[in-house]
Every structure is written in C-alpha cells, then in structure tokens.
C-alpha cells in the first residue's frame, strides 16, 4: 500500500477547530504586558516568553505529527520546510518561507510576513529591547527538541523594530539519533 503523504497546511487548517484570532492576539498581548509589569526587566520578559514557547512547543508537536501525517523528519532541511509550510499554517493560519541556507545545511531562516501575534501592537519607547514574539522562537525550539533536534533560534528581523519582515534564524546544534528504527509498514 502506498504511504499516505503529508497533508497540506491549508487542508489541515480548514479542518481544525478555529477561533477568533483577536482573542488569541489580545490574550498573548495581555500576557506580555503582565510579564512586563511583574518582571520589570525586558530581558527577563524575553526569557520567560521563550520558556513559555518552549513548553508549548514540546506539547504541540504531538498534535502536529498526528494531524499532518508527517513521518518523523530526519533531514533538517525537510524539517524546516515542514515547519514553515505546514506548522505555521495549521496553527496560526499563515505560511512562512524558508531561505538563507548556509553551505552545510544546518542553519536557515524562517521568514514570516503576516504575523497574527502582532496585530494592533506598537512598541512604546520603554520596551525597545523587547522581542515581542519571542514565544515563537521557543515553540520552534521546543517542538524540534522533541524530534531529536537541538537548535538555537534567534531573531534576525522584527517588523515591530522597524524591519520589513519577521525573520527567525534556526541553527541546528546537535541531532540526536532516533532511539528506535522505523518500521517499514508505517
């Protein structure tokens, strides 16, 4: 029997339960605001947002694998494409693109032009060091860690800081080999 291919991000997004994006955007925004109030230091807020994202990422990966029919990616290149085309689409309803690969294929950029997290956001002068969307880098790092890829994710461009797009650099640090072999009939 021919293996079932991965489903497209559009197809999955069309079938999942969806909610009003404003509720999500504003809830995230209110969380950032609350963290700024509680932690005072912008650096510390960046860290906590990343940590929250990481925790979300390690949980979301299961839903992602189950709904997308993606068999575990071994190749980092392929994985990055799947995150951008399927992952972003099925959760946030937007597609990202992958570019800026380095020569040995261990570092690339995920570029997001449309980002529902930042609708309505304008950074005040007091928050200049804030990586408002830092939860996203945490989600990617957490999810990849669950498929045995240790990565470092950093912001290269940020529209809230005056750039023309959101760009996250994903760098593969270490790939832990799978503990069990794939079965042919899967």
């Amino acid at each position: 029997m021919a293996p079932v291919g991965p489903r497209s991000g559009d197809a999955i997004f069309a079938n999942v339960e969806r909610v009003n994006a404003e509720l999500f955007t504003l809830t995230y925004g209110a969380t950032v605001r609350q963290l700024l109030t509680d932690l005072e230091e912008v650096e510390e807020v960046n860290k906590q947002l990343d940590q929250m994202g990481y925790n979300i990422g390690i949980r979301l990966i299961d839903e992602f694998l189950a709904k997308s029919n993606v068999t575990r990616c071994v190749d980092f290149r392929e994985t990055a494409e799947v995150i951008a085309k399927v992952g972003f689409k099925m959760f946030l309803g937007v597609t990202a693109t992958v570019s800026n690969w380095d020569a040995d294929g261990t570092c690339c950029s995920i570029i997001l032009e449309d980002n529902p997290l930042v609708d309505f956001v304008e950074l005040p002068d007091t928050c200049q060091g804030l990586y408002y969307c830092n939860i996203l880098s945490g989600v990617i790092r957490g999810a990849l860690e669950m498929v045995s890829m240790k990565t470092e994710v950093t912001w290269i461009r940020d529209v809230l800081r005056g750039d023309d797009a959101y760009e996250l650099q994903v760098k593969l640090l270490k790939q832990v080999p799978e503990e069990y072999p794939y079965k042919d009939d899967e």
């Binding site: 995230y28 925004g29 209110a30 605001r33 609708d119 309505f120 956001v121 304008e122 950074l123």
Partner: protein
Amino acid sequence: MATTACFIIVSRNEIPIYEAEVGSAAKREDAAQLHQFILHAALDIVQDLAWTTSAMFLKAIDRFNDLVVSVYVTAGHTRFMLLHDSRNDDGIKSFFQEVHELYIKILLNPLYLPGSRITSSHFDTKVRALARKYL
C-alpha cells in the same frame, strides 16, 4: 474647513488623554487654553446626558459665543469632544466615527495602558487628516 476647531479625548476618569487644535486659524497659545477650558466646563453636561440616551453622537450640547461643543461618547464612556464654529453636523459625525476606529486601534495595542495619554504620532497625523477632510 472650520476656522476654529479644538478636539480633545477625555478618558472615563475625566482625564484628558489627547488634545489637538485642528482649525485653520493661526495657532495662538491663549486661544488654545480658552478652548480647552470651555471643553472641560462642558464635561459635566456630558456626564449627565450620557446615561439618558443611547446615541453616541450628541450634537451641540453647549455653546460659548459663536462656538459650539459637540460630543461623541463610546460604550466605554470615553468622550471625544469638539469645539467648533462650523455647522456641518454630518461632517462632524463622520469625523467622530472615524476617530473612534482609530481610537479602538490604539486601545487594542496590548502595550497601551487604557486611560493613559495617546502618544502615537501615527494617531495624531490621522486625526489631523480627518479634521481637514470633514470639518
């Protein structure tokens, strides 16, 4: 376009959070102060009126010589107040409605503290453009 038009936004706690002289007359410091004084004096009238009607646009609630005060009260009781010498009610209503949309965008910014001063220069530019268009 109106020669005199002074626009302010007052928060539900009666604190002014935005002010702009948007008339075509030359800017004079003392005139601006007088305008704001008249608007603040009209606040009490607005307070009483707001619970007696469900209309957002309350036209000509107060007068001072040839100047008229018109007001727009949002569901959250933020007050847009305009002191003007023109009699173009439709234009004033459209001005208020479009400023309301701009104001909601400010309010939806999670990093804007409701009731605090509106410092966005983008907002200021847009409000002045709307004043030129409608008043």
